[in-house]
Amino acid sequence: MIYLMLLETEDDRKNFLEIYNENYLKMYYVAQGMGQRQADAENAVHDAFLSLAENFTKYSHLSCSEMTGLCVTIVKHKVLDSIRRANRYSDAELEELILYDEVPEHDAPGMVERGEESVFVRKALEGISEILRQTLTLKYYYELSNKEIARIQGVSVKTVEMRLFRGKKKFKEVWDEANGRGATGKPGN
């Protein structure tokens, strides 16, 4: 396995292999869910693991479920990069791209009971582009630096900063909308 050659220690290689076996199908599922054909989805998974292997020591502290989430987030970025290249999208066009699958049967159990939160989640998935959501996920959930995010996304740090700025603005707008607040942030407007 080529990724193992990028890792220094035997422990790292063993851990990486476990991560690979645990997550490659999930990553493939996610890539296909973003509209990728089989070959493109496989390429995205491969690119994601290369990216992971290159920076493995930085992520090795993550728990099993956190690592799954990171793998999924990275593969989403690789798919978006592939889409951008295939369609020759500009950064601005990519920031408008929403790929959320609205099929209700895919709703996770327990969402119905969560009331306002589920309204917000659905509005966020429908209204905030994939690239902005994933950028904020890498920054605020996985606590990566802007430089590390730029490396994963293959863009400049400046682009990451702009995406974070725009993403935060969008999240706040969607949150206010989901909670019945207007542009001023006050309830009932």
Partner: protein, 83 residues
């Protein structure tokens, strides 16, 4: 000081919102057992992986031949780095 507090509160609020969405997305992914039944990754994928490994091994052998004498620490630890 007040601005720092507001900044921290904003960061936490964003983190909470992002977490809600991200964890929901992750919860929609089926488990491995279901995925294994659903998919059979193409033979081409695995062949491609094997070809890439062979290619990297050849590169490593070529590099070992040309760089092992030039390595200052005298330590060769793998295909991609030295020392």
């Amino acid at each position: 000081m007040r601005r720092m507090d507001e900044g921290r509160q904003e960061s936490q609020a964003i983190k909470d919102m992002v977490s809600l969405v991200h964890e929901y997305e992750l919860s929609r992914i089926p488990d491995n057992h279901e995925l294994q039944q659903r998919y059979e990754l193409s033979d081409v994928f695995y062949q491609k992986m094997e070809r890439m490994i062979e290619c990297q091994e050849k590169k490593a052998r070529r590099k070992k031949t040309t760089t092992v004498c030039g390595c200052s620490s005298g330590h060769y630890s793998g295909a991609f780095w030295c020392g």
